[in-house]
Symmetry: C2
Subunit: 370 residues, 2 copies
Amino acid sequence: MHTPDLADLCRWARLPGINAHRLLAAHAAGIHSVDEARRAPSSLWRQLGWPISTQKALSNPDDQPIEGDLASIEQHALRLVAAGDPLYPSLLMTIDHPPAVLFVRGDATVLATPQLAVIGSRHPTAMGARTARDFAFHFASLGLVVTSGLALGIDAAGHRAALLARGKTVAVCACGLDRTYPERHADLATEIASCGALVSEFPPGTPPLASHFPRRNRLISGLSVGVLVVEAAARSGSLVTARYAAEQGREVFAIPGSIHSPLSRGCHQLLRQGATLVECADDVLSELKNISLNQLAGDTLNPPDPPSEAAPRLDNPSEILLDALGFEPTSLDALIASTGLSSTSVASLLLTLELQGRAASDARGRYFRL
Amino acid sequence: MHTPDLADLCRWARLPGINAHRLLAAHAAGIHSVDEARRAPSSLWRQLGWPISTQKALSNPDDQPIEGDLASIEQHALRLVAAGDPLYPSLLMTIDHPPAVLFVRGDATVLATPQLAVIGSRHPTAMGARTARDFAFHFASLGLVVTSGLALGIDAAGHRAALLARGKTVAVCACGLDRTYPERHADLATEIASCGALVSEFPPGTPPLASHFPRRNRLISGLSVGVLVVEAAARSGSLVTARYAAEQGREVFAIPGSIHSPLSRGCHQLLRQGATLVECADDVLSELKNISLNQLAGDTLNPPDPPSEAAPRLDNPSEILLDALGFEPTSLDALIASTGLSSTSVASLLLTLELQGRAASDARGRYFRL
């Protein structure tokens, strides 16, 4: 198998009209690099369904200034994760036009871990920011990755709470990862890179143009099993993300608030459109358990790379619980008795294991190991 | 046709197991009074599907102390409205076991006017009470009758706002109308009787037993085209009313609130179960317009009694609008132009006319007179 080098990946990333599916189809057709694509007959381009923009770019050899990309990648220690890479989140493959290549700063392995988006207003109320913190802290403590957009307000509250919980968090950016937007979140971005990852589909040097934010938003939802909107005004970018989430088949959660608060309007609009009303973090987790978790987890988790590597170590209570779990279905009560853990802990840990595709429950609510 | 006298009606009201449908079936079978029922062969009782409780009561001639009822009726100026009476609300006939006889103190004609229930906690927040007032005031101003349970808190706020708006209000009681429960609402009850009605299915002398409240609640929803729950704790009588409303096919509206307020729990529970989220009174009215209003209005409104009587006079802007409305569909803009009324007034008045079955709209949103 051809392993694309960094320069190849940069070229694919900059080739317009090439999404993850088109990249995989190109590989399947024996086209592993953009140079090979250039040399291929234009009949093959058309056969692969490449749009005019792609064909035009391939005809213009000066189109790809990747030297700068390579320098930025080295300078900022970026990793490139292309479609087909075991770290490429398979949940993302289910959206329209998944990026062919993701630029990642930090730990790229978190991308393949179940993520929950926590998003909302850039100008939340104090209570809204506290709610975002409380929910995100709870999710991150349970091993869910908190994904958001690095924006001021709710986004930052979510990221910070995940860091505080010593959990993982992913920030999806609307610009190249050689810069931070907003600039005042440069320190936060550094912290996120050390305990999670910053992700962008935009090559280094790309400015945070307004048109990039909806694209960024579709990745936030696309990476996540669900999207929680904490506070949002009536016409808010968070509603764009929620719409993408609904279109992508992701669960949308919204927190209600006073009818006198303009920052509840957006959430109320989502609730009218069918979002799940949540009052506490456990409401989100219960709903995620109700949907086809095993399928989601199975879709999300890629096999470890290389396959012979051991599965990631679980934290201690999870290990205790996993030891107690057999392949025969066991009741929650029996698990509580045999582990000595609290019922809340056991329920939470089971959810995490389910999300990780390491446990499942039967129709009678009994759990077993996968 | 046999016109039952007051003593007959009292006896029917006290005969256990006789609901509105059974009363009408008895009339259809030629049984117009309880005395006639007593004299009828027990085979007819069984043929009419009367339960054992009814048959037992009919076999015991000492069962009906109606002299006290007649005295109370005179003392408190009660009116009895039985199934088959033009004032008996036909919307109520659609519920399970509608009462055979309603005791009414005040203006019985309001029963046949479209009603909207405004209910909620007996111990609301200041904001919740204000919200109930604002919504109820708006509904009552538009000619909708505000129906509630005369309880402390939200109920009383709804009744009082309707009175303040010089609108109509109905209080459904869980005891006989010779008393007021809670006692401290005696003055409010007197005001309601002068601008609307108090209604009960319980004969005079009946105490407000706990078991009567769910029965009262089913009448609140049964009389109404929709039920608005303003604030309610997690286990609240308002949720019982809302459940009845849903079972009876009535629209359920709930106002969201902070996830930190215990008095929003009940509303959030209803929203999860499919209630319509409303942020302002107009949200309720829009939703009511969306459902089959003409049908509801047609069901609710009985022909005036006697039929030759003129239709009730509309207030002045309504008359102006009605004059402008033709039998040919007319656009909202044209109506605004021809009446000189504001668009908000025209829209509100049209809703009232629709609810009264005097106007309707076509698929293109144009209005015409019925």
